[in-house]
């Protein structure tokens, strides 16, 4: 089955062994953004290097539409120069001795001077960096460097784009503006874009499809909020921003209600969604710090099933966020807004009640 020429699909089915790690992955990447999400060391950059031809898989195949990049059975391995891929590295890898326009035009050496000129001007305009054309990379800000790296990768009109945490370290506004330019660029071309990150904020900004990589294996794939809303492993839960990972033991199943009760190792009990784990088995419960409600009086008349009494151990203000540690048997991390902290008069030593919905509790596995 050949994919239609106008929007080719990237097919990756590879295996690559390292002394302490193995990447093994089979997936089809459609046109548009696919976020490749995972903690560091999960194999994200290795995957991109294999697709780009910078690293040779031990076996398998990589195809973009009808073009075969790599196939061990047919003994095909196209060098990176012949794959027409745009690749923005995590370090960006701008050539330090060349100006912005020389960097951007580096891949256009086979074209005529006028054609080359025109493409450079267009690429600089697309990413709003015309005024930087004569500068060297050392004279650029972080966001400007990222724009130059993107322009250099896209000016050659690649058939596939690989982005390795290209917008890490930028504030949300700048990130959105670069992503907007990138979407604009891709709306006419519709090529697959693999966007590697371990940053939850970037996932939300990019949207579209998401796959998770865990220890070199494909975890889950689907829409970002579906996959990351219910992580299944500790590593993914950490990466997805679940601040509370609480070891617990299963006490009882209530199949009729679709829930089970667990005893936290530090003390206290929680009602969580029903899992396959047997009574007595060890589990880990993941809860976002922002999903826990705080009350300064005994709450009643709530639908939430988990109400735990505790004492504020510490309180730290971080910008628009107040981070609390509350000891309620186990120690919970809780985020509230500064306004909420003020009106509840939260302070160290104060008695509070934690309110947690059953479905804010996620069972995760230690792989």
């Amino acid at each position: 089955m050949a994919a239609p020429l106008d929007s080719p699909v990237l097919l990756v089915d590879i295996r690559r062994r390292f002394p302490a790690f193995e990447l093994q992955l089979q997936h089809q990447f459609p046109a548009g953004f696919t976020v490749v999400f995972g903690s560091s060391g999960a194999g994200k950059s290795t995957l991109l290097d294999c697709v780009a031809g910078l690293l040779r898989p031990d076996s398998g195949k990589i195809e973009l539409g009808i073009e075969v990049f790599f196939d061990t059975q047919r003994n095909i391995s196209r060098p990176p120069q012949k794959r027409r891929i745009g690749y923005v590295f995590q370090s960006l890898a701008l050539f330090p001795h060349l100006t912005v326009e020389e960097n951007v035009g580096f891949g256009l050496h086979q074209q005529s001077e006028s054609e080359r000129r025109q493409k450079i001007v267009q690429a600089l305009a697309d990413f709003h960096i015309e005024r930087l054309s004569k500068r060297k990379p050392a004279e650029l800000s972080g966001g400007e460097k990222q724009r130059v790296a993107l322009a250099r990768s896209l000016v050659t009109q690649p058939k596939l784009l690989l982005l390795d945490e290209p917008l890490t370290g930028l504030d949300a506004g700048l990130r959105q503006s670069i992503l907007r330019d990138l979407r604009e660029w891709n709306s006419a071309r519709r090529i697959p874009i693999l966007y590697v990150t371990h940053n939850r904020d970037e996932v939300d900004a990019v949207g579209e499809n998401l796959i998770t990589l865990e220890n070199g294996k494909l975890g889950r794939s689907g829409l970002p909020h579906v996959v990351l809303g219910a992580p299944q492993t500790v590593a993914l839960a950490q990466a997805a921003g679940f601040e509370n990972l609480l070891p617990a033991r299963v006490l009882e199943h209530r199949e009729m209600d679709g829930v089970m009760r667990v005893a936290l190792d530090g003390g206290g009990e929680l009602e969580i969604p029903l899992g396959a784990e047997q009574v007595g088995e060890q589990v880990i419960v993941a809860i976002r710090a922002g999903d826990i409600l705080l009350a300064t009086e005994t709450p009643h008349g709530l639908s939430a099933r988990n109400i735990l009494q505790g004492v504020v151990e510490s309180l730290e203000i971080r910008g628009m966020l107040v981070e609390l540690k509350v000891r309620a048997g186990a120690t919970f991390q809780i985020h509230v807004t500064p306004g909420a902290a003020r009106s509840l008069q939260l302070a160290t030593g104060k008695t509070v009640w934690l309110v947690v919905k059953t479905h804010s509790c996620h069972l995760v596995h230690q792989p």
Binding site: A52, I85, F89, S91, A93, H97, G107, R152, T156
Partner: protein, 224 residues
């Protein structure tokens, strides 16, 4: 002071350092980027002149260049005269003698390059030659200068190899260090002093240039 000896030494050093650079660039490129497991063997071979007494090196060079040596016979067959005790013989022996001083700074500077820059060049379609000329060479420039200057300086002051291979023929193989040795033997201390001091000053200036450009580049087989 002996002008002829100084001129000859400069001529030899210049010839050797330029030839050596041309030869060492591809060799250093290969050493820096190969994944071959046995490359340490070649590294050891290149580094040998650093530890061998020059007389040992010169002795083998003399044997190879002699009328019964492979190199000597080959030379005789092509040019019709023997190789030993000629300027060309001196150049060939000096190439071997100064090899590590050209190769090691080059390898060091190639290895210190960010590999991602080379990946970036490959991904946008640049072949090896273009990447070497446009990316590697400009960024490894201090290493190239260091290789050139160090092999020049090292050849300028060589003694043992020259004595073994070149003998002491004025204008052909009598270099500065041989000249100094001769004068000291003949108790002409004033002449020896002048030439020795000149060589000392020239060497110091050259090393100052190298370390002024980049003091990190020169260290034997770094980055392990």
């Amino acid at each position: 002071m002996s002008g002829g000896a100084i001129l000859l030494s400069l001529q030899l050093a210049l010839t050797v350092s330029v030839l050596l650079l041309a030869f060492s660039l591809p060799l250093a490129y290969w050493l820096a980027f190969t994944h071959w497991r046995g490359k340490f063997l070649l590294e050891s071979l290149v580094a040998l002149p650093l530890v061998l007494p020059p007389t040992v090196l010169g002795f083998y060079a003399l044997i190879a260049m002699g009328p019964r040596g492979a190199l000597g016979r080959f030379w005789q067959a092509i040019f019709g005269h023997p190789l030993a005790f000629t300027f060309a013989g001196l150049v060939i022996a000096s190439l071997v003698y100064s090899l590590p001083f050209a190769v090691q700074p080059l390898v060091a500077s190639f290895e210190s390059l960010d590999r991602r820059l080379l990946d970036a060049a490959a991904v946008v379609g640049a072949g090896r030659v273009r990447t070497f000329i446009r990316i590697i060479l400009p960024l490894a420039w201090p290493g190239v200068i260091t290789a050139l200057v160090l092999s020049f300086a090292h050849t300028l002051g060589e003694f043992g190899v020259v004595l073994m291979v070149g003998g002491n023929l004025p204008g052909i193989t009598r270099t500065i260090s041989i000249d100094i040795y001769d004068r000291a033997q003949a108790l002409d201390y004033t002449g020896a002093h002048q030439t020795a001091l000149l060589l000392l000053l020239v060497s110091f200036v050259i090393l100052s240039i190298v370390y002024g450009i980049n003091r990190r580049v020169w260290s034997p087989w770094p980055h392990r």
